[in-house]
Amino acid sequence: MNTTWIIAARELRAGKRVFAICAALAVLPFLTALLPGARASRADFVAMVGALLSITVGLGLAVAYGASTIARELAERRMSFYFAKPVGAAAIWFGKASAALAISLGCFALIALPSFLVSPRSWRLPSLEQGELLALVALLIVEVFLVSHFLSTVVRSRSAWIALDGVCVFASAAGLYVILRSLALGAVANTDAKVAICVGLAATAIMAIAPVWQLARGGTDLRRSHATLSRTVWMAMAVVLLVAGSYAAWMASVGPADLTAVHDFEQAPRGNGVLVTGSKANRGLIPLQFLVDSETGAHRRITTVWPSWGVKFSNGGERAVWLQQAGWPSWGAKFSNGEERAMWLQAGIRSGGELEIHAARIGDRSIAATGIRAKTHERTVLSDDGTRLAVEGERTVSVFDLDSGRLLASGAGLQPGWHDMFFVTPDVVRIIENANSGPRSPLRIFELDVRTRSMTKTGELSVDERSQSRWSLSVSGDGSRILHLGGNRILDGRTAQPIARVQFAGRPIRAEKGPSLGRNRDLLHDGTLVAVTTGEDGSAQLETFSRDGQPQHTVTFPGVRRLLLAGEIEGGKLILAMGEPNTPRTTIGRGMIVFDLKRGVIERVMKDIRGPLPRLNDPGVVRYAAEQPLVALNAQGKLVTWDARTGVVRRIPGM
């Protein structure tokens, strides 16, 4: 017989009485079920009492055996009994530990199994199946035993190593927190949970094996034993955390040049700031995001809550803000078929979790958490000068100073529904409300004045269209005009009074959904309306109207089945993207067009590039500076810039 089993057998013999007591306790759930109050659901009652009793006894025994096995014998100077025998340190530890665990687990099973068999369905928790709950308790018993042994050794030795243990516990917890948070914030789907489980299992293995060294190196002296145990545990934990940290660093060490696919990008109206969203194989499922300086290639990794919300750039392009989850992000979801996929929405967003505004200056490496909070469904808008932020609340709008996070003004009185907001000036926020109050929803316009801290309604229009598009608006960049897409009506931007109803020459293009989504009617900065329609031969055509709704140009693009309004350039230029219906936004298609609005002619065609991409969440078209290098994807999937005036394409350094 192996010496380990000899020692285990001896310890099990000593535990005979404990088994006998637990066998008697196993009857208790059935006896309590006979009480008058338990008559209605006896099976459930047996299961509940059985579960409570078995878990209490199992964990209690694990604590008691953990505290007494080895540590107590060392403290009472009785470990020399085994040391004076031809028995190795491993046999002493594993023999005693296996017997202690067999007694703890056996007694748990002895009490739990009869009640489990009577009512297996009651033996579950909302998130755990029957078998999983039993396995979890069994694992917990093992963990509690090992931790109890460690703590018992530490406490009984009363040596100065206790202080070092405290420091190491804190350092390990802090290290693990940093690793997991970097993984969670690094948008690596569920990897934080997987790494946490791996570290937990490694820690369990360390705690299970370290006592062998404790005995082999520490001998029968309790203080030396404690010192050896602590040294072994913390050195091994340091290695585990180093490996986990290296893995986390490797997962996070991705630059924009490493991206194997670019899903989205958007750039500031001026300057060099670009948000790039993409992915890389074997680096998690959630897209990676970078704030890139297109001139120098310098970049910072950021984590916005939802890539399509992206960042908001100030008009000058010197500042970017975005929403980031305030708590612990959760990126993955397990579907009913067991497949694990990334989710664009976080669990926190679905449950109404809180987000925090983060801000960065382009060209500056620091990222600041502003302390300004927003709910997941609330919209935010940045002033053109980048100093103020308006946040939609529950029936309110608040304006904050971005640098100090101070609340400057707040207005109440909004109805539930969709609210578009924009800064008319840094002191005035205009809110266009599409209230969700029935078939005849009013369209109301408010202005929140920061100086007077008052919100006033400036206009209202009853809207009776029932189509989904009644919610869609386009707002001219100067705020003077609103295009109500449901009725093709141009409204005054402040009073909502109708100015004109627009009649298009071609057929309207059916709205597309998902990643191919792109707008086909929009107001430009000065109120000019541009629309993409389908001509008689199925080719796309561009129609332009004055700010008062008068038709100006209709240009057909033979053979082009799809056009997207990608942006506007100061000086009356429009950027259009050619493509096929229902293809991703980043599909290059047939390239980009620079259209001269004044003359109504195509000024330039750029083949084999795609960009800039139309914004999805802004109620208007982005107007880029005339000299602004435009960011695009080339045929190799790399990000480049191109000049709308000259057509010169340049690579972004380091990409």
């Binding site: 017989m1 010496t3 000899i6 001896r10 013999r13 000593a14 100077r77 009785r78 470990m79 020399s80 009994f81 040391f83 004076a84 025998k85 031809p86 028995v87 190795g88 340190a89 046999a91 190196r217 001998g219 029968t220 002296d221 203080r223 030396r224």
Partner: protein, 294 residues
């Protein structure tokens, strides 16, 4: 059989700032009995724990039967019997169960020898170890150690707290085994009277240092008590080392640690009448360590 059953080389044991054993070396020949003597706190138990591989010395090493005990403790304990100072068997175990456990751990276990000794000691096999008296616990420990038929028996103060009868029976068992099998015995003890008759060599430990390590016969031959009429200075011509002296009647009583009869004859012209007597082991021990204040 290895020439040396036990060897200790330059062992240092520290507990924090306190030094328990300082650079100690000793050797025990196979088949001999070595008695390690020392006052409480002299470092005996620390030394024995290091010898048994239960405590790693800060410096030096201990070898049992030719092998490093720290590295090969489990294997060596097959051939070594141990009677600890404090009985360390689990108190809930029955005496019979202790035999059962040992019978599975020791390859040369003699169950009959164990049973017979228990019978001689008058200990019931069904007794719980924790319920036994101190003397009985020592007897059970000795029975367990000897039934494993060890080549080396290490006893750490085996008679501490035992009455005269229990001491006698314990030593009788050891002596019988020695005679029968040529057992090597290393014994740390206060019971000088009991070991004097069986020990071959004596070591005296004082404040962690081995101040004396010598065959008992040699030791006894050089220690003498000299009583004479006159001052202790009269002994100077004989070149005797005097460990202690005190007034004795009108004369002096001195203990010489290097007594030599021929040398002593040189001072006969000064010291006409002298009474020279050998010392017991206890007296020698007292002469060596007795002046130290406890």
């Amino acid at each position: 059989m290895t020439e040396l059953a036990l060897a200790v080389e330059d062992i240092v044991i520290r507990y924090g700032e306190r030094v328990a054993v300082q650079g100690l070396s000793l050797q025990v020949r196979s088949g001999s009995v070595y008695a390690l003597l020392g006052r409480n706190g002299a470092g005996k138990s620390s030394l024995i724990r290091a010898i048994l591989g239960q405590l790693r010395p800060n410096r030096g090493q201990a070898s049992l039967l030719g092998e490093d005990v720290w590295r090969h403790r489990a294997r060596l304990m097959d051939r070594v019997g141990v009677v600890p100072e404090e009985a360390d068997a689990p108190p809930d175990m029955h005496v019979k169960e202790l035999g059962w456990l040992s019978s599975r751990l020791y390859p040369r276990w003699q169950q009959s020898a164990y049973d017979e000794r228990l019978d001689r000691f008058g200990i019931a096999p069904a007794s719980r170890f924790g319920d036994l008296s101190k003397g009985q616990k020592k007897q059970v420990s000795l029975a367990l150690a000897l039934a494993a038929t060890p080549e080396l028996l290490i006893l750490d103060d085996p008679t501490l707290g035992l009455d005269v009868v229990a001491r006698k029976s314990l030593f009788e068992e050891v002596i019988a085994d020695m005679a029968e099998r040529g057992l090597t015995v290393f014994i740390a003890t206060h019971d000088l009277g009991a070991v004097e008759s069986i020990t071959d060599r004596v070591g005296i430990l004082k404040q962690g240092r081995l101040v004396l390590d010598e065959d008992l016969e040699t030791l006894k031959s050089r220690f003498r008590r000299i009583r004479f009429s006159g001052p202790v200075a009269d002994l100077a011509e004989a070149n005797l080392q005097i460990s202690s002296s005190r007034p004795w009647g009108n004369g002096t009583e001195a203990v010489a640690t290097n007594y030599d009869e021929l040398a002593f004859e040189r001072v006969r012209h000064v010291i006409r009448t002298a009474e020279v007597a050998p010392l017991t082991l206890e007296e020698i021990f007292m002469a060596v360590v007795g002046e130290e204040k406890s």
